[in-house]
């Protein structure tokens, strides 16, 4: 079991307390607040990009190439005279959009297969979990490279690839949680009044997984964004001239000597987002973890726990 998986598993053990208490505790965890604020700001920036960006992200202007930062072009212009700031903003739509789509896909596939594996008989469960094991016997990026390489480049293929490669970790954890919930009295009660297996799965087990699954997905977002932009950097994402952070970075490497800033902006954007997702997911996990005591600050709690959960920090 890898460390991120251990962290996710731990998150999965969490349950959901209610109401304003969560908000109060949340505001006390400074790094989580920073993470959430960044995520919200960037999400808004991505949604409002057409209104926030003052220039067309793909409009070229050959008389104004490699312009330095200025009032009109806060991040300068690129090798074709396109406004870098507008490209970063519009790039957020694609990069974050892909990350969200892929995470949703992973969540849906992972929860479904994990739930089914946890609730059905030995045969179905074995088939699903062995398939997961086999996929996990290969480092994710390498499997992803093969799949996307064979499918061909493009946004849709990139998202399909990431879902195909990353569902196993998710399904494993969901199966573990399902096995636990399945043994609870209320499930037994439902069974005794004659509820079908599907009904138990959907009405009784699934609602109990919602909290942990939200945490898992948030924790996964950083990893997914890294995968999306990494594959895109290697040339398997969207082609030019559409702005996408990983592809922008790959394009800028050709002009590294001329203008390193063109590479630094998209790189910084990816790093900040991954950082924010990690901080936010982490805070969310601490928040939903029953073992965390309300009065202890974040770092004090973390001290008490063993390593694996540090990995995503």
């Amino acid at each position: 079991m890898s460390a991120p998986e251990a962290a996710l598993r731990e998150a999965g053990d969490a349950f959901v307390p209610q109401g304003r208490r969560i908000l109060r505790r949340m505001l006390r965890d400074r790094s989580a607040v920073i993470g959430f604020v960044i995520v919200v700001i960037m999400a808004l920036a991505a949604l409002l990009a057409p209104w926030l960006a003052r220039h067309d992200p793909i409009a070229t202007n050959f008389s104004n190439r490699y312009a330095p930062s200025s009032g009109a072009h806060p991040f300068g212009t690129d090798n074709l005279g396109r406004d870098e700031f507008s490209r970063i903003l519009h790039g957020a739509r694609i990069s974050l959009g892909m990350a969200v789509a892929a995470t949703l896909g992973i969540t849906i596939v992972g929860v479904t297969l994990g739930l089914v594996a946890g609730m059905s008989g030995r045969a179905t469960s074995t088939v699903i979990m062995r398939l997961a094991d086999v996929e996990l016997a290969l480092p994710g990026l390498i499997l992803a490279l093969v799949v996307v390489g064979l499918l061909g480049q493009g946004l849709r293929n990139l998202i399909i690839t990431i879902v195909l490669v990353q569902w196993p970790t998710f399904a494993r954890i969901v199966r573990g949680m399902t096995l636990k919930v399945r043994e609870q009295d209320f499930v037994e009660a439902a069974r005794s009044v004659g509820a079908s297996r599907t009904r138990i799965m959907v009405r009784h087990v699934l609602p109990n997984l919602v909290g942990p699954v939200v945490v898992l997905s948030t924790l996964d977002m950083g990893r997914v964004l890294l995968a999306v932009s990494g594959l895109s950097f290697l040339g398997f994402g969207i082609g030019p001239p559409t702005p996408e952070w990983g592809a922008m970075l790959a394009e800028a490497k050709t002009f590294l000597d001329r203008s390193p800033a063109l590479l630094i902006w998209p790189g910084l954007a990816i790093t900040v987002m991954v950082l924010a997702f990690n901080l936010a997911g982490d805070g969310l996990r601490d928040l939903l973890d029953p073992r965390t005591v309300e009065s202890t600050p974040g770092w004090e709690r973390r001290r008490a726990r063993m390593g694996a959960d540090e990995s995503v920090r």
Binding site: M1, S2, A3, P4, R130, D133, V134, E135, A137, L138, P139, G140, L141, I142, L143, L145, V146, V147, G149, L150, L151, G152, G222, L226, S229, G230, F233, L234, G235, G246, L249, K253, L256, D257, P260, L263, I264, G267, L268, I270, T271, V274, L275, N278, L279, W299, R302, R303, R305, M306, G307, A308, E310, S311, V312, R313
Partner: protein, 317 residues
Amino acid sequence: MGRYAARRLLVAVPTLLALSLLIFALVSRAPGDPAEEQARRQDSRGEISPERLAEVRHELGLDRPFVTQYVSWLGGAVHGDLGRSFVRRTSVSSEIGRRIPVSARLAGAAFALILLLSVPLGVAAAMFHRHWADHALRVLSLLGASVPGFFGAYLLIILFATKLGLLPVAGDEGWQSLVLPAITLAVGPTAVVSRLLRSSLLEVFGEDYMRSARSKGLGPLTVVVRHGLRNAAVPLVTYLGAVFGALLEGAVIAEVIFAWPGVGRLTVEAIGQRDYPMIQGVVLFAGAVYVVMNLLVDLSYGFIDPRIRLEEAVERS
């Protein structure tokens, strides 16, 4: 122990077999016709006649049923024969064999760096617990774990090659060209391992043997290094498997960026050229390395700390 090792080995074999089937199926079911692509590679001018296509298909053995193709490929693989590359026209296994030492050198250097950096960083963070130094190290490791390798690599290039002109950017010429790719590979794992070591050390600090060591008059650093580190390192072994995974993945990116002629770069090239036998070969090789590494890590728990209940480890895996 012997029984446990045997059981773990028995699990590893079917996993590898299933992996080989997955890889073979993935590549054979890929969109596109390898025979047509191969015919074009040999003769890029003009139309390819159906006769020529059938001929190439037969040459490549693609006219046989899927199961026959898979079994003969697997049979060869067991004997170390992974077929011939479409593009290079050479043996896939000898090409991989040629590149293994090159990649191993990079991975080895990165691994050494990870140990060399994360141990002092982890010890410092634990000893200065709640001190500003601990917080500074936390921020650093957070950054280290969030910077994508392909961005970190270029930051290093900008700093050490473009601005300072100290180190070469590409190729494999002497130890200098090893420095930047090795750092690129080491950053992420170092960030994680140093944090893990810190928490593990903090946990160990509360143990009785630490107090005994302290009370017999040893200095704080001696106690940490001689008594703390050894015990704190045990849970970290669990994470070694993930470190190998990170090295395998990172090697692909680092080798492409720094034009390092290893297995990772071969993988990306083969995928770009749709060189099917090469793709199957390198991926099977990467899978085998990963499975064996994880097996060794699992087996090593028992040697390092006999208290760990191995049967439990089997249940969990």
